[in-house]
């Protein structure tokens, strides 16, 4: 049995011991857990294990195949790096929650049936909210509560879908599901919420920036990528995903540009990167699925790196507001360097990890004949370069000097960032090992003339536009306002349009909520009237009334039966 233990369970069960340890021992123990889990994973052959009978349903608690292997591996790597990053903390809540959260995500990836998936799915939701609450502020508490409601809501939809699936087909196997059945649609929505589909995405930008410094790093790695995995498993080749993904890739760019909280900018860009993956799943060809998986792999690393660097800034200066930062490269040179590596990776510079994976998806879109999607993805690539590639490092570390002087990030954070940055570059330069573990065999060459030139053109034009505008003095000399001026196009155009539409929508919404609120208040009043402390249902009835009801019940039974 021990031979078939899920790597996720190693983290979850291991987490229970953490509160009893202190100091270096605790650090070493926590680092050992993902290593142990990875060792367990590597020692498992492909196949299904851990079959148990639960409520008359056969569960497959551990299924290792090519798809789950990659995700399991990167999740364990992310967990390891996240733990290194959080070693300086003396907060058991975060340590335990982080481990249980990572373990649940790993367990979910290896779930061979929908019920196991559901249990771990809820596990990620419940464990992760403590990473938000651990900030111990009212704002974070409220954001966490909203986050929890949405996540549990996703779980409930999943459960409903699973039950219907079980009743209709008698099977709970987690294989291709498709959206043809009601069960399929419900599960699709559950995945969609967790994957932050457009209009279902707000929990992400709401909650992630409110989490703790280390919590956001963990959060960025697991929840949404678990959803990507689940979609790839159950809905590969589902056409509707292509437009959904394209919308996801495009729309957050606008928000990212106008946002001042740099961790929220990253949350938007996370959304946008997920868009690429969702498009890949929707296309569903071997190349596209490979691209999605590879992109998820790289994305977890560089996004974690970016959140780590912003976390370090928050940790040292107490803020990540673009308008309050600037010039930090003097105080935090290493963090600056790592942030730039992350920025280059997410922007898809050749020789960095984003390039070798994003190119696969974009090529797959081209090959599949999705011309407009291709265009949108190119546009999104340029947008990413602007808000994550330029904006993040620029405003935090360069821009005009905010006068803030602080220490460099703590040693463990620097180590975590250094390793992550190293991996980003390594994968970018030498992608073969990653390609070898992808679900399908890869004959894709990222470094062809065409790919490199297209990507460089895109990046160069973006940068050129930026520079030319600066040089020609269209930008005022003060850097802080550059951002605002650069936003001008988006903000004026979009805003005036948005205001017109939004105004109407807002009025309608106001009226709607007024009606709903009124009805709810009325209903609450009625409920409170009857069930409140002095209501008929909560009062202690006189004994005679109770006896009377006994007779009524007898009469009811007799009359109903004799009728």
């Amino acid at each position: 049995m021990a031979g078939e233990l899920s790597p996720g369970l190693i983290l979850i069960v291991g987490a229970l011991l953490v509160p009893f340890l202190r100091g270096r021992l605790r650090g070493a123990y926590m680092l050992a857990l993902p290593v142990l889990a990875a060792w367990q994973l590597l020692s498992l052959p492909y196949g299904s294990f851990g079959g148990i009978e639960f409520l008359d349903m056969p569960l497959v608690t551990l299924r290792v195949d090519r798809l789950s292997f990659v995700f399991g591996l990167i999740f364990l790597m992310a967990a390891f790096l996240g733990i290194v990053y959080s070693l300086h903390l003396d907060d058991n809540v975060q340590h335990v929650a982080g481990l249980v959260y990572a373990g649940s995500a790993v367990g979910a990836v290896f779930a061979g049936d929908l019920v196991t998936l559901f249990i771990y799915w809820e596990g990620t939701a419940i464990a992760s909210v403590f990473l938000i609450w651990a900030r111990r502020e009212e704002r974070a508490y409220r954001a966490g509560l909203r986050y929890l409601v949405i996540q549990v809501g996703s779980g409930v939809l999943l459960l409903a879908g699973v039950i219907i699936q079980f009743r209709q087909t008698g099977s709970i196997a987690f294989d291709h599901l498709g959206t043809q059945t009601l069960a399929g649609v419900l599960i699709f929505l559950a995945f969609g919420i967790k994957c932050a589909f457009p209009l279902l995405h707000n929990w992400l930008q709401d909650a992630y920036p409110e989490a703790t410094v280390t919590g956001t790093v963990m959060l960025s790695a697991f929840t949404t990528k678990l959803a990507v995995y689940a979609l790839a498993r159950g809905y590969a080749g589902t056409e509707i995903l292509v437009p959904i993904g394209a919308a996801m890739a495009a729309f957050p760019i606008f928000y990212a540009v106008i946002e001042n909280d740099l961790r929220r900018v990253l949350a938007y860009s996370l959304n946008n990167q997920l868009g690429f993956m969702v498009v890949g799943i929707g296309i569903g060809t071997e190349l596209a699925i490979n691209g999605t998986v590879a992109h998820a792999f790289c994305h977890i690393l560089y996004k974690a790196l970016l959140f780590m660097s912003m976390g370090a800034v928050l940790f040292r200066t107490g803020t990540v507001k673009g308008s309050e930062l600037g010039g930090l490269y003097k105080s935090m040179p290493w963090t600056t360097g790592f942030c730039i590596v992350g920025a280059a990776s997410i922007s898809g510079f050749p020789l960095f990890s984003g390039f070798i994976s994003k190119a696969m998806i974009i090529t797959a879109a081209m090959d599949g004949g999705y011309f407009w999607t291709w265009i949108v993805l190119l546009f999104a690539s340029a947008g990413v370069f602007h808000h994550s590639g330029i904006k993040i490092p620029y405003f935090a570390f360069f821009s005009h000097d905010s006068g803030k002087r602080c220490a460099e990030a703590p040693g463990n954070m620097l180590v975590a960032m250094a390793v992550t940055a190293g991996l980003c570059i390594l994968i970018g330069v030498y992608p073969r090992p990653l390609y070898d573990i992808l679900p399908y065999s890869v004959d894709f060459l990222p470094y062809t003339l065409e790919h490199v030139v297209t990507q460089l053109q895109l990046l160069m034009f973006s940068a050129l536009a930026f520079t030319v505008l600066m040089r020609t003095g269209i930008y005022p000399p003060e850097m802080r306002r550059t951002n605002l001026d650069f936003d001008w196009v988006y903000r004026r155009l979009l805003r005036s349009a948005a205001l017109a539409v939004g105004g109407l929508a807002r009025d309608a919404w106001k009226e709607f909520t007024k009606v709903i609120k009124h009805a709810a208040r009325g209903a609450a009043h009625v409920v409170a009237h009857h069930h409140g402390p002095d209501g008929i249902m909560a009062r202690t009835w006189p004994t005679g009334v109770m006896a009377f009801w006994t007779t009524v019940m007898l009469a009811a039974y007799l009359i109903l039966t004799y009728l």
Binding site: L159, H530, A538, T540, T543, M546, T550, M553, Y557
Partner: protein
């Protein structure tokens, strides 16, 4: 052992009865406790031995005094009541250590030995109802357990305990009367009081005098509904639970209503159900409707309740609704859900009431407004409360989920989609009332009034943690809960006409 083995069914009842007599003579709280503890710890051993014997070798019939049934009283153990025997005796055994400090604090020294005497009598009655195969004998045990319960409630420090006990006495007597009238009808119709014998003879009576059989069924149903607090006959329960001494509440909430529910199942599925198709009668529909009313109305009252014990009492009424819902569904999965919820609810509610008993032990109140920040002062106690509270909601990973899962499946079997929705919706109300306590306990700053509080002594803490752990354990490993319940349900449903 071999000499004792054949007499296990009667020992299950006689030992606590003798214990009660002794406890009455002892007059000292500590020795009374020691005696009650010894008896309580012996009971599960007998019960488990019986259940194992039944599961492997089929029903056991024990003839009291050597008189063969149907003339003599028969004790009859099958999987159904073996299951309930294990539950009741285990709750007694696990809860007993808790009682020592709790009773010492809440009762005057001269009352303590009497309290243990009453507890043992109550245990006698509950185990007797479960083990007996005789309809009138069940009435006698019902009265034994009820009378001792009235005393146990009236011993509460709060003066309202007296009134609650009095109301329960009146209502309980009415319920018992209804039950005995029903048994009277049955005796007139069949000339027998032995349950197995009745079930064999009832078919002929149904053919000749169906209306009298229905009257018997209605009287038994209403009488037992009153004792098991099925809405709207539940009004005696919240006050009785709220103002009784802590241990009384723990014990009664986990066992008394459950045993009555067992008796109802016994009548429906093995007495009436064998000879008449009671599912064709509107009785099942009425029970489903009343169960739903309990699930919603009692849960809503719990949302507004300020006294946490009273809130939990209302929640009990709601949870009983889930169990009777399973009975009303009367299909394989639904009945499994009802049966399994008997166990699951007993364990989690005992944990919840115990943690409130521990809070009362430390701070002397269980009013919500006084409990701000109690989680930081009594972390283990409130952690157990939290876990059991999640069980009450039915969160996956707790035993409550298993119960609701089977109930939902049962509703599916009937094709009642709306019922699945209602089961989920009523759980959401539980989220609110449990959440209210959790919010106050964990999120608020501790008030000066509870500054001195800390987790209770180990005799209290260990039972609390054990029961909370059981809530989680049975959420994952269901062989001994859902597994046995499923077997029992299969036999019961299979035996129906």
């Amino acid at each position: 052992m071999t000499a004792v083995q054949p007499h296990l069914p009667v020992l299950q009842v006689v030992i606590p009865l003798l214990g009660a007599l002794l406890a009455g003579l002892l007059r000292r709280g500590t020795s009374g406790f020691a005696l009650a503890l010894a008896v309580s710890w012996l009971m599960p051993l007998i019960a488990v031995a019986l259940l194992c014997q039944v599961l492997t070798g089929g029903p056991i019939s024990y003839h009291l005094g050597g008189w063969p049934p149907p003339w003599g009283i028969e004790y009859r153990v099958d999987a159904l009541n073996g299951f309930v025997l294990v539950l009741v005796s285990t709750i007694g055994a696990v809860g007993m250590p808790f009682s020592y400090r709790s009773v010492a604090l809440e009762l005057e020294p001269r009352q303590q030995a009497w309290f243990y005497c009453m507890y043992l009598l109550c245990l006698t009655g509950l185990l007797g109802i479960t083990v007996t195969g005789d309809a009138f004998n069940a009435f006698v045990f019902l009265e034994i357990s009820s009378l001792s319960t009235y005393v146990m409630i009236a011993l509460g420090r709060d003066r309202r305990a007296l009134l609650s006990s009095y109301q329960y006495l009146i209502m309980g007597t009415i319920g018992a009367t209804f039950y005995i009238i029903g048994v009277g009808f049955i005796y007139l119709l069949t000339g027998s009081l032995n349950m197995v014998d009745i079930s064999a003879r009832l078919g002929a009576a149904w053919a000749s005098q169906p209306s009298a059989v229905i009257a018997a069924l209605a009287f038994v149903t209403v009488g037992l509904s009153l004792k098991l607090a099925l809405f709207p006959l539940h009004v005696w329960l919240p006050n009785a639970y709220a103002y009784a001494p802590s241990f009384t509440t723990v014990f009664l909430s986990a066992t008394a209503t459950k045993v009555t529910i067992y008796l109802l199942i016994r009548y429906y599925f093995t007495i009436f159900g064998v000879s008449i198709d009671f599912r064709a009668l509107p009785i099942t529909e009425v029970i489903v409707v009343l169960s739903l009313a309990a699930m919603f109305i009692a849960s809503l009252v719990a949302v507004f309740e300020q006294n946490v014990k009273r809130m939990l009492a209302y929640s009990s009424v709601a949870q009983i609704g889930y169990i009777t819902l399973g009975i009303g569904l009367a299909d394989q999965a639904g009945l499994t859900g009802g049966l399994v919820h008997i166990v699951n609810h007993a364990l989690m509610k005992a944990a919840l009431f115990m943690s409130m008993g521990a809070v009362f032990y430390r701070v002397g109140t269980v009013n919500l407004k006084d409990l701000a920040g109690i989680g930081r002062k009594m972390p283990i106690t409130m952690a157990a409360f939290t876990v059991a509270g999640f069980g009450l909601i039915g969160t996956p990973g707790t035993s409550g989920f298993i119960s609701k899962w089977y109930l939902a499946l049962g509703a599916f079997e009937r094709g009642w989609w709306w019922l699945v929705f209602l089961i989920v919706a009523s759980s959401l109300i539980a989220v609110v009332y449990v959440g209210r306590v959790l919010e106050v306990a964990w999120r608020r700053e501790p008030s000066p009034a509870i500054a001195e509080a800390s987790d209770p002594p180990l005799t209290m803490l260990v039972p609390i943690v054990l029961l909370a752990a059981a809530t989680v354990y049975f959420g994952f490993f269901t062989e001994w809960t859902a597994g046995v319940a499923g077997t029992v349900a299969k036999t019961l449903i299979g035996g129906l006409k």
